[in-house]
Amino acid sequence: MIDIENLHKSFGDAHILKGIDLHIKEKEVVVIIGPSGSGKSTLLRCINYLEQPTEGMVSVDGIVLNSEANINDVRKEVGMVFQRFNLFPHMTVLENIMLAPVKVRHMDKGEAESLAKTLLARVGLADKAESYPEQLSGGQQQRVAIARALAMKPKVMLFDEPTSALDPEMVGEVLDVMKSLAKEGMTMVIVTHEMGFAREVGDRVLFVDDGRIIEQGTPAEVFEHPQEERTKNFLSKVL
């Protein structure tokens, strides 16, 4: 589903990603962990070309990302959820969800509205359709953001630290939605600091440090029996 080969990314002199090779299968849930500044968010953002790789190849569902035209084609199939939600503040919750299906997929408005309502019910916010983002709590906003991404019926969902900006009591409601998505067989790539969640939901855990994948394996392998010194060191601080 996602193939990444020899991916490098630099911002000026800062070499953030130093040669990443990664292959993600359909329905796989991959969790990326690692210290701040290790490049894990940059890696995620390269998958839908929000960051343009300096070197290397990224392909999603067989489409190699290299021109403006196919970037938009790929983005239609790749949903993204941001740390800070990035809902559109001048639109209602319903309008937030309907916008892309109507403008990008050319879905008819009635159809988009019923889809939006179905998705809202699914994330437990059926009663918030007419609210504006600022009237919702952080956890609710993030669930709307997930519904907004799902409205494009993506084949892959990317999550960039989806719970890092939330108050602790709201983390659970967002993780629950993500768990149910994983159960339904969505292909997911998740950058997170929630180790319990990573262990429970991930098919594969990647430990990234200093722009490289240091270690990967099943959650049991990485969390219970880390092989690398840096992984052990990191886990000892966060677990």
């Binding site: 929000l50 993204m80 559109f88 892309a100």
Partner: protein
């Protein structure tokens, strides 16, 4: 000091006529300026390098030279090139509008850049093009933020429109000069002219304050 109130009263209708012309050219220039400013402002931040460059040159030139000189250029210098006289009305609205466009462009640019970068990323990540994201997400949010600076720009433009009196265009200031030439009532007439400008600019700032309030109460930011 002798203040002749009768002169104020008798010349007031003529001055109001001039004020009407001032309002008219200001309104036309504002319309032209906003139109130009919207396109130039967006061109300033688009990804097409030559467009960005041209827009920057436009803004630099019209903000970096005096409006008075631009009016002279438009009215006296352009006909030398084209061989055709320019109607003073066209010269007045043209030079004020083109000048204002440069300032509006900077207001538009700043307004758009004040919107969180995450909004553009969210739009693009949903598969929308840059243009669609601008149109449906960025510009609607930016409009709200540019209302106060645009109001200031309109007030400045209304006052600056007095400069077109130099090409003989009979707006408020020119009317005043003409009346003084006949009556020698400098004190009375300039005083009246100032008051009329003040009433007009205060009206605009009230209108802007109203718009600002309306946008903030019945919508979100």
């Amino acid at each position: 000091m002798n203040f002749n109130f009768d002169l104020v009263v008798t010349s007031f209708p003529l001055l109001l006529l001039g004020a009407g012309v001032t309002i008219k050219i200001t309104a036309m220039s504002v319309a032209l300026g906003v139109l130009i400013g919207l396109f130039v402002g967006i061109a300033r931040i688009c990804r097409v390098k030559p467009l960005r460059f041209l827009a920057a040159v436009y803004v630099d030139f019209f903000r970096g030279t005096p409006l008075l000189v631009q009016i002279f250029l438009f009215y006296f210098a352009v006909p030398v090139i084209t061989g055709q006289r320019i109607d003073p009305y066209v010269a007045a609205v043209g030079s004020c509008g083109i000048n204002s466009g440069a300032y509006v462009a900077e207001i538009v640019r700043a307004g758009i850049q004040s919107i969180d970068a995450g909004q553009m990323e969210a739009g693009r990540s949903l598969g929308m093009t840059w243009g669609q994201t601008m149109r449906y997400i960025i510009v609607p949010q930016a409009i709200k933020r540019v209302i106060p600076p645009l109001g200031n720009e309109f007030i400045a433009l209304l006052k600056d429109s007095s400069l077109v009196s130099v090409i003989g265009f009979e707006e408020l200031t020119r009317r005043g000069q003409l009346i003084i030439a006949k009556t020698y009532g400098s004190l009375e007439i300039w005083f009246s002219v100032a008051i009329i400008y003040l009433v007009m600019t205060l009206s605009i700032s009230r209108l802007v304050a109203y718009l600002e309030k309306r946008y903030n109460t019945d919508d979100r930011h």
